[in-house]
Symmetry: C2
Subunit: 443 residues, 2 copies
C-alpha cells in the first residue's frame, strides 16, 4: 500500500515528519495530500471568544430574521407536509423550490427554465460539483486574482493548475483574460473554466463594470471556455443597484451559482447552479453520487419562505444593515489607518486593504490575534504566494461599534509593525529567524 | 480543449453519437464520463404514479413520526436559538450532535470520542468523502458482492477498480476476502479499503455472522487494509437484536458510517463517519471543501429530537412496522412465487430474490413496470455484470396490502416470462433482436 506513484511518494516524504502517527498515511489519494489545512475551525474558535473582534469571517448577520414567522411557518410545514418534508428527494432538487429560484433570479434579469437548475448543499457544493465534472488532475482553471479562498480550496483538492488573471477596480481585466487564454492555448493547456465573482467581490469588494461584462463573455465564447459565475452577493448592493449577470449575455457559456446563505440564511445549506442543459444533467448525476438528494427540510422551508414572506423586503433590510457596517468600517479606516489604502465597497461583505510597504499580513496575524483582532491575510486568496501586502476585513458579522474597535486595535498592531520595520528593515521576525509557522488562512 | 488524453478521447468517441448537442462534451473530466446514468429520477417518477406498486425504492416509511412533537420542537428551536440554528457551523459538525451520536452508537456497543466523528450530508456523503480522500483513479476497492448501488456509483465516479468478494447467508466470506487480498497484493495492486454492510444487507438482506466479524477485522489488520463499515440498518433488527459493529473489534482499522435516514428521517440529510483520528482530520478538510459545513438546521433539530424524545421507542415502532411488512412480503412470495428463491430478512428493508433459470431481471423490468410493479434488477449491485438472475424487492415503503399486490403482479410477469422461455429459449426478446435499451438500475 505504499509508494503507489511518484507524486504521492514525494508529498509523503515531504510531509512524513508530521504524520508518523497516522498508520493510513500511505493509503491517501494524491488529492487528499493536496488539501490544505483550512483554519476555519481555529477561526471559529477564535471568533467565538467574546474578547476578540473578528473581522475575518464571512458569516452573515442574521439576527434580524423574522424568527416568529419562521417558527410558525416551519411548524405548519411539519404538521401539514411532514412525511414529504422529512423524506428523500430527487438529485436535482425540488421543483417547487426551483420555481422560486427562477423568481429570485428574475430580480437580476435572468430568464431561465426549472430544468436547468440543480439545487446543491450550499453554493460551495456547486463549486465542488462543477470542478468534479470538468477538472482532471493537471487541467487548468483561470481564476481572477484575488479569488474566493473556498473556491481555491476546491480547485486545489481536484489538483487543478490555477492560472490567475489580474483584477482592478472594475473587476477582471478582459485584455489580460484574452491574452492568458491565447497563451494557454498556444501552450497546449486546455482551460476548463474561468472562475469569477463579478459582484461585490470576495475579497476584493469590487464589481465588474457593465462595459466589461459582455467583453468577458465574448472572450470566453471565442476561446470556447466555460465561465463559472459565482454570485452570492449580487443582491446586496447598498443602493439597491442590481448588476446584469454574465449568464444573461450568453446562457450557453456560463454556469451561474446562486446562494441563499447571504440573502436569507446559511443554516439550511441550500444553493444552486444554473447551467446549460447537458451540464445540468451531469451535475445531477454528480449530486446523486455525493449526497443522493439535497435536504428537503431546507428546500421546502426556503420555498415556503419565498412564497409567503416579503423576501425582497428582508434583502432590503440586509442591505441597509450592511451599509451601516460598511460605513463604520471605512470611517474607522479613515480615522485609524490613514497609512493604508482600501476601497469603499458598494455592496457585499468585504474591504480589501493594502498595508504599508515592508509589512507581511500573514506574519502579522498571530500578533493581531494576540491584540484581540482577527482578519484574513491576503495570501489566502492567491494560489501563487501573492497577497502578503493585503488583508481582507469583513464588516458583515460584528456590530458597528465592534468594527470600529477592531480597526482601532488593528491600527495599533500595524503601528507596532511599522516601528519594527523602521528598526530592523522587516516586521516578519519569524521569517528572518527561519522558523515560519503555518499561517491562518481563513475561509 | 479536446483530446486531452487517450482515456477521455476513447470514451468520447464511444459516446459521441448521443452527445452531439452538448458543446462542452470535450471538456468533461474522465470521472464525469464514468458516472452512470442512475435512474433515480425516473424511479421517482414511476413510483409517484399512484397505480404503480414500487418494490424498488429504499425510501423509509416515515408517516408514523410524531409530527406534532417535531413541529413544536422545531418552532421552539427557531424562536429560542434561531440565529445559531440558521448560521454556518464548523466542518466537523456540531459538538452537541456528535455527543448525541455517541449515545446512539452506545446502543450498539461502540465507545468512542466526539473528536472522531464527522457529521456529513447523509451517510452517502461520508461514502463520497472517504472514497475521495483514499482513492486515486485505478486504485482498488474490495467490495462484497452484491453491494449497495449508491456505493458502487461513488466508487465508479472516483474511477476505482472494484474487486468483488462473494457473500453467503452469513455475509462476506472471510476466506474469500483473505485470498483476494493476498492475490491483489501479489499483483501489486494496493487495496484502499474493504466495503461492507454487515447488518441487514442492501440488497442481500443478510447479516454477517458473529463468528465472522472478528475474522474479517483480523484479515484486514493483517493486510493493513482499512474497512469501510456502512451501517444504516443496524438498529432495525425485527427482534430487537443488535449486532456488534466491526468497529468495536479494532477502532484503528475501521471507518464506521452511520445514518439517521432510516432510524429517524432522511429529509434532514444528516449522517456521520466515525474514524481513526488522523482519518477524521482529513475527512473534515474534505467536508469543508465540499459543503463548508453540514446543515445546522438539520443537525440541531436532530440533536434536540434525540435529547427530548424517546428515540429508542420510535426505533422500536419502526422495527415492528417493518417486521409486519417483511411478513407481508415473504408471505406473498410463498403464495405467488414458489418458483423463486428468497431469504427471510431479520431486519432492514430488502429481500433478495433469485428468479427462475433463463429469466433476465434487467430485461424483464420494462415489462414489469408495464404491469404496474417496479423492482431493482440484481445487475445494479455488481460492477462486473453479474446479477441478472436476481432482483431486489423492498418492503420498506408500500403498505402491506400493496406489497402483496405488487408481488402478485410480479408473479404474473414472471409467469409470462417463463412461458416465453418455454417457447423461445430466452425471455430477453430485446437482446435477441439486438435492440437492447438502457436498463433501469435504481438506487
Amino acid at each position: 500500500m505504499s509508494g503507489q506513484n511518484s507524486i504521492s511518494s514525494k508529498i509523503a516524504s515531504a510531509a512524513a515528519a508530521g504524520t508518523r502517527l497516522d498508520p493510513w498515511f500511505d493509503a491517501y489519494a494524491d488529492r487528499a495530500l493536496g488539501m490544505k489545512q483550512s483554519e476555519t475551525r481555529s477561526l471559529f474558535a477564535v471568533a467565538n471568544r467574546p474578547e476578540v473582534v473578528s473581522l475575518a469571517g464571512g458569516m452573515p448577520n442574521i439576527v434580524g430574521l423574522p424568527l416568529d414567522f419562521l417558527a410558525d411557518m416551519t411548524a405548519r410545514l411539519i404538521r401539514e407536509r411532514g412525511p414529504q418534508l422529512l423524506q428523500y428527494g430527487g438529485g436535482q432538487g425540488e421543483e417547487e423550490l426551483r420555481e422560486m429560484i427562477l423568481e429570485v433570479m428574475r430580480a437580476e434579469g435572468i430568464r431561465a427554465h426549472v430544468d436547468n437548475i440543480v439545487v446543491t448543499t450550499g453554493s460551495q457544493q456547486a463549486l465542488d460539483l462543477v470542478t468534479q465534472i470538468f477538472v482532471n488532475p493537471g487541467d487548468t482553471i483561470v481564476a481572477e486574482a484575488p479569488s474566493y479562498v473556498g473556491a481555491l480550496g476546491v480547485f486545489r483538492a481536484y489538483q487543478a493548475n490555477v492560472v490567475h488573471v489580474p483584477m482592478d477596480a472594475d473587476g477582471m481585466i478582459p485584455q489580460a483574460l484574452d491574452e492568458t487564454l491565447t497563451r494557454l492555448a498556444a501552450e497546449g493547456k486546455p482551460v476548463k473554466f474561468i472562475y469569477t465573482v463579478p459582484n461585490f467581490h470576495n475579497p476584493g469588494g469590487v464589481c465588474m463594470s457593465d462595459e466589461r461584462r459582455p467583453q468577458v463573455v465574448e472572450i470566453a465564447r471565442r476561446h470556447h471556455v466555460l465561465i463559472l459565475e459565482d454570485n452570492p452577493y449580487g443582491m446586496l448592493g447598498f443602493d439597491d443597484q442590481v448588476m446584469r449577470p454574465l449568464q444573461t449575455y450568453d446562457p450557453d457559456v456560463v454556469v451561474y451559482l446562486g446562494s441563499f446563505s447571504k440573502t436569507f440564511a446559511p443554516g439550511y445549506r441550500v444553493g444552486w447552479a444554473l447551467a446549460p442543459h447537458a451540464v445540468t444533467q451531469r451535475l445531477v448525476l454528480a449530486n446523486e453520487n455525493a449526497v443522493l438528494s439535497p435536504t428537503k427540510v431546507g428546500q421546502l422551508s426556503i420555498a415556503e419562505y419565498l412564497r409567503t414572506y416579503d423576501w425582497m423586503a428582508q434583502i432590503k433590510e440586509y442591505r441597509s444593515m450592511y451599509k451601516g457596517r460598511r460605513d463604520a468600517m471605512v470611517g474607522a479606516l479613515a480615522k485609524y489607518l490613514p497609512q493604508c489604502e482600501w476601497n469603499v465597497p458598494e455592496g457585499g461583505f468585504y474591504t480589501w486593504v493594502k498595508i504599508p510597504d515592508g509589512l507581511d499580513a500573514k506574519a502579522m496575524l498571530p500578533r493581531a490575534t494576540a491584540k484581540l483582532v482577527a482578519y484574513v491575510s491576503g495570501t489566502a486568496f492567491y494560489m501563487d504566494g501573492q497577497g502578503s501586502d493585503h488583508l481582507r476585513l469583513s464588516y458583515c458579522y460584528p456590530p458597528e461599534e465592534s468594527i470600529v474597535e477592531g480597526v482601532r486595535r488593528l491600527a495599533g498592531v500595524i503601528e507596532s509593525e511599522q516601528e519594527l520595520v523602521g528598526l530592523f528593515g522587516t516586521a516578519n521576525l519569524r521569517k528572518r529567524a527561519g522558523t515560519e509557522r503555518p499561517g491562518t488562512d481563513v475561509v
